[in-house]
Point group: C2
Chain length 760, copies 2
């Protein structure tokens, strides 16, 4: 079948919001200024856990510039935040604190410095109790209970086939324990909100945020107001990666309470330290894996136990636990699987959503096992993966069968071919060389984890220009550009004629959170549907104008064109104007819902996501034996993305995700003091990849379209994180001749591993 010729889809276009971003014209929440605006600052606990005896705010109230100080006692609503049930997190800690950095009071003053100074005048009397700081301590029945029901946040079992029978059939078994650490989102823009009370009794929250509808609901609840009185407008957002969900709710609610109380705009603008200690991190993990295979490499059984350190509050731990559970078996056909995934409470900054969402952790462990298995079987690692790669029609770990859009084998074939082209290096006294591959899959959409709905609107004006609204946020990932392309393609207008708004909760259906790499697929489908409704009006009108009602009409290049005689063309603005005055709708607001699933939440069997992104990464590295420094010589990221909407945007997503994966695998380490305080809450002490650390990622796309995405497209935001981290770990293991079982494996760790190896 010849592929349809697209005008805008698949073209290398610049980000539609690129110009204002690079010229500095784009306003971020922290850039906003309103007359009479005040600044808020949270007083935080310095110890990880203890009973609040008293909070004396009297001196703070008299500090210069201070207008308001309040504590958990003064909140009209339930004083609860948190993304999902269990809503176990206080907005301001009341009876006890559960992590070092938790907010206990809020100070509002003329300037941030005055607010900070005010906060320093608060006398906080907390009686320390014994903190729970590790997974083992959390599991110990003798440890204190962080929450009334104990220290298990969430735990689930996925059971497919009979794993004991499976292992009984296995010729070879490998086992291991793998660990990953914290990771900080480290977006360029720390969290910020600005809340403006309106003259109409409503308030507007301008927020750097990921999920505006979460903000609306939680902020309204804490204000004790109906949600209809709260409007959330997303400002330009300088990255989120999962990080601006919980914390935007927290600072949004605090600022809103103050703004309503004082009748003045209130800004909260985090500095880097607040951003690191006061917002969620990636879940550290300890994962026990056992994989069984036949002699020929056929996988027969996989047993996995995942422990995730969720920190002091649930946040998105339940979803991350699920995501790890569902992805732990990898992109393979395995008849017998038992996976247990558990998140635990500890007295540390809470863990939550972070690009990849549990998948990088399990992929690292799973792909390490695949390499170990290949070694034990004496098989080529690519061959082993190819042998077990899911094919269309196969049943995956949850028993879901995709008849289309399963491109994992294709990615392996690409990587196999590219591996042959790698330069061969021989190690010497100075350098070690290694090549690693990893395969992975990542579910696209919320799927059966929640509800997958998106609202979108497409509005054409009489001049033919188009305004698109959607409930999903642009966080730098380029989704405004994707939505603009989809709209432009459907309506036959150039990209410049399409404007995509940032989210305004007033104007679109609650679309849930912008997570799970679902923007292009689920959001894009919503935009497509809305654009097609407007197209229908234009086509109907043009049919009347051509005096050929119902005749096939193409919208292209700003014209309505009669398909039967393409020289008959009417400019689209004329068609739009006529459609308006004839009474055909030029705006449509769509409510789009993912197809129904039949998922069983007990066994975790059934259809869960609308599609999966599949990928295989290849990485060749060089290790400096003297310094431990790693140079990535080649990195190839090959993903089945369904259909590429914007090659440029896709490359940006894969490069960015890869660098986060590289940071996770090699550089980033949150360090706690023995008492449980984060002690490297700044970019001098916390190493995040900068432009200097950029790895030479090459992007190859496989296009196996899904009918659940617009033009067949699947998301690609998260997958490269897992692929890169795992390929890096496997490459380092190959170079060292020694299995890396813990991430990050930093330069220092490599030197230690090297010296251990040499000792042997």
């Amino acid at each position: 079948m010849k592929e349809k010729e697209y005008s805008v889809i698949g073209k290398r276009v610049n980000k539609v919001d690129g110009l204002e971003l690079v010229t500095g014209k784009a306003k971020f929440a922290g850039d906003l200024r309103f007359p009479g605006m005040l600044h808020g600052y949270a007083k935080r606990s310095e110890i990880p856990t203890g009973i609040i005896k008293s909070i004396d705010i009297s001196k703070a109230l008299e500090a210069p510039g201070v207008h308001l100080v309040f504590t958990g006692e003064n909140i009209p609503g339930p004083n609860l935040i948190g993304i999902l049930p269990p809503f176990d997190q206080t907005l301001l800690a009341k009876d006890r604190v559960r992590y070092a950095g938790e907010s206990v009071a809020f100070v509002v003053a003329e300037t941030k410095n005055q607010a900070k100074n005010g906060a320093s005048q608060i006398t906080l009397e907390i009686e320390p109790t014994k903190p729970v700081l590790s997974l083992d301590e959390a599991l110990d029945p003798a440890s204190p209970k962080i929450h009334p029901d104990g220290n298990v946040t969430f735990s689930r079992n996925l059971i497919k086939g009979d794993v004991d029978l499976g292992f009984a059939e296995a010729d070879v078994i490998v086992e291991g324990v793998y660990e990953t650490s914290y990771q900080e989102h480290a977006y360029i823009e720390p969290e910020a909100v600005c809340v403006v009370p309106g003259g109409d009794g409503r308030i507007t929250i301008y927020a750097s945020c990921q999920s505006p509808f979460h903000l609306r609901g939680h902020i309204a609840a804490n204000l004790g107001q109906p949600a209809s009185k709260v409007r959330v407008v997303q400002t330009y957002t300088g990255g989120s990666f999962g990080g601006k969900d919980d914390v935007a709710v927290e600072i949004g609610a605090l600022a809103a309470l103050a703004a309503v109380k004082l009748g003045r705009p209130v800004m909260v603008n985090h500095d880097r330290e607040e951003s690191i200690i006061g917002s969620n991190l990636r879940h550290p993990s300890r994962i026990k894996y056992k994989t069984g295979a036949k002699k020929d490499g056929t996988l027969v059984a996989k047993q996995v136990e995942i422990l995730l350190d969720g920190g002091a509050y649930a946040s998105e731990s339940p979803f991350v636990t699920m995501k790890a559970l569902i992805h732990a078996a990898g992109p393979y056909r395995i008849p017998n699987v038992h996976i247990k995934s558990t998140a635990l409470y500890t007295n540390k900054t809470y863990s939550g959503a972070f690009r990849g969402f549990g998948v990088p952790q399990v992929t690292f462990a799973s792909e390490s096992q695949m390499d170990e298995l290949a070694a034990k079987l004496g098989m080529d690692p690519v061959e082993l993966r190819k042998k077990n790669a899911l094919l269309p029609g196969d049943s995956n770990a949850t028993g879901q069968v995709f008849k289309e859009s399963v491109g994992i084998l294709d990615t392996l074939q690409v990587i196999e071919r590219e591996r042959e082209k790698l330069k061969e290096f021989k190690g010497d006294d100075h350098y070690l060389y290694g090549t690693g591959i990893s395969s992975m899959l990542q579910g696209i959409s919320n799927g059966a984890e929640g509800i997958d709905v998106v609202g979108a609107s497409v509005q054409m004006s009489q001049d033919g220009s188009v305004l698109v609204g959607i409930g999903l946020t642009e966080l730098g990932q380029g989704s405004r550009t994707v939505f603009a392309q989809i709209t432009a393609e459907v309506l036959g207008v150039p990209l410049e004629k399409v404007t995509v708004k940032t989210v305004d909760t007033d104007s679109v259906h609650d679309s849930g959170p912008t997570v799970a790499s679902r923007s292009t697929t689920v959001g894009g489908k919503a935009v497509l549907t809305a654009a097609e409704a407007v197209k229908e009006s234009l086509v109907t009108m043009a049919g009347l104008m051509f005096n050929s009602p119902g005749a096939p009409i193409v919208l292209k290049d700003n014209f309505a064109i009669l398909e039967a005689s393409p020289e008959a063309r009417i400019p689209l603005d004329q068609v739009a104007t006529a459609a308006y005055w004839t009474g055909f709708p030029l705006m449509n607001l769509t409510f789009s819902k993912a197809p129904p699933s039949n998922y069983d939440h007990d066994t975790h069997q059934g259809d869960i996501y609308v599609a999966y992104n599949y990928g295989t990464h290849l990485m060749q590295i060089r290790i400096d034996r003297i310094t431990g420094e790693v140079t990535v010589l080649r990195h190839l990221a090959c993903h089945d993305v369904g259909k590429v909407i914007n090659p440029k945007g896709l490359e940006g997503q894969v490069e960015g995700g890869s660098l986060i994966g590289f940071g996770l695998a090699h550089m980033e380490k949150i360090v706690h003091s023995p008492e449980g305080r984060i002690i490297n809450s700044n970019f001098a002490d916390y190493a995040v990849p900068t432009i200097k650390d950029r790895i030479p990622t090459e992007v190859v796309s496989i296009e196996k379209p899904t009918s659940n995405g617009p033009f067949g497209a699947k998301g690609v935001g998260e997958p490269p994180v897992a692929g890169t981290a795992s390929a890096f770990a496997n490459a380092v293991s190959a170079a060292l001749g020694k299995r890396v079982k813990k991430l990050p494996v930093t330069k220092e760790d490599i030197l230690i591993l090297l010296s251990e190896r040499e000792k042997k």
Copy 2:
């Protein structure tokens, strides 16, 4: 049939936005402040017409605080404004000026005073030409042409039956010429806009305005930008009455041009003088009427020639001309009608939309004729009107037949009954007494005059609170309250749970202008439809929750109630939350369109409006023979409104409209100098009714529901103006025993008429 019991509809509720208005919390456009905001001021022509020789802005540019000065030469777009074709009005006059007060240059400075001072430094060289200042001058072929095609703005003929045959059959004929004068809208808040350029290349226009979509289109065009780059947000608007349509476009476009050029917010905030000389007024009219009837009072023919003084530009003259044309025959069954309606250009401030929209002018003339005819026939004026009053099934002047909702006879019956209860007064040396009645009709909706579309959205949050969006503006008329009531009724929630936003062009379908008393009827229907879509989700979800899918369910008092067993009830917030998580849409955006019409624009025969409001007014007055002072002793306004949504709001509308009618009939007079300049552009010299002049309007409603309105409701915004003005004129005529042929008939005019009478 027993009437349905409503929870909210028909109840006396306070305005939903009343509290913020009376407490001063509501922000009007002129209250807005943004960092870096500048102020704009227009330099205006002081002479009515002439050729612009030069505009020297050099000194102005150097005046203190001035940032920008521009003229018509500097406008990227077409430099055209105007509501409708012909777009004959320049944004800034370029080659010539056509009225005294026309803007020729725009100055932007730090403060309004600096801008004003800057404007005073502009040297304007205009070579005066002979102005056309009256209808007769405009008609004179020897007069200069104000526009290239001459001095006729718009002219139409309505022809029904054969008027010559009709008069041939008549036993009695009355003839007369009637005149009305200018009227200023005199809203409490003069026009204001504040334009804020965004970091995303879009601009937001915060405007006190009546038709945000007009602003969007015209401002974008003059900026040379696509409409999708312009967002218009209506601020609280302190009255409009038709006046904030053109002028908001004008000042919005000027401020937008400056804001884009300077990259800073720009405010234009008119003072009263600018508001009077620089925005449209009500069309003065001269109307020739001829009415023929049989001896028994049966009307057989009506011939009318209407001349409207449209001023320098078309503005809404075409529509006002049409409206006058269609309504000139009154609410009567007349087989033969010929009406000619013409608007003319003159070199005065342009005339445009004003509450009533041509109907008060023709009603005054028509109802004067009815009284004259009654006198000539020796019939009671009520009897004559009753005899000819339209009944359901009758064909009106445009040949439209309504099978329902024709309540004119009912209003006459009420008035007849009430007239009997009037105290009888005998005139004496000090006082004269008179009673007047008038009947009228007013088309509801844009109808076939244009296109009647409205967009509305209803969004329920998971907590059961509701946000309503609509493309029609709240101008003080109480439509937000009506929309809130409709939504609350449909969704079974208390009124407090419903918030109605002001208009934001980004979030709703282009709904055209807020005119023609169409908000409740056409807008309300859109809100009703959107609310019903949300209701469907709730009812479906509740059916599942009751384990009775499809069973009849009532939404009431915040509960979903199983009709079959009303003790089974689930709180609506629980239903909404469940609906969200099950994937039933909780938001709907509706595009609502009036039923198609079959109107013939040549003969003006056919179906034009979705409904008519019918009314009869009764007024008893006392005239002080010494001072000419008129005291209204009783005023009864009886209208067929279809269904009363909010009795309080309706009373407010009728009282307010009546006072405008009273001002038109008795108090308000724009005075021009012989050169053609308005010389009483302030409230000291232009007498507008104040609270002291309030007349004791009593409101009686007839409810003859229309299926084209929500719950049967018809609009009532405009009709009382015509009813009151005409009843007043007839009452004064009765008291004086002399026909008033010109409005306003002020105290001074009454003294003159009295002295003329006494001279005889």
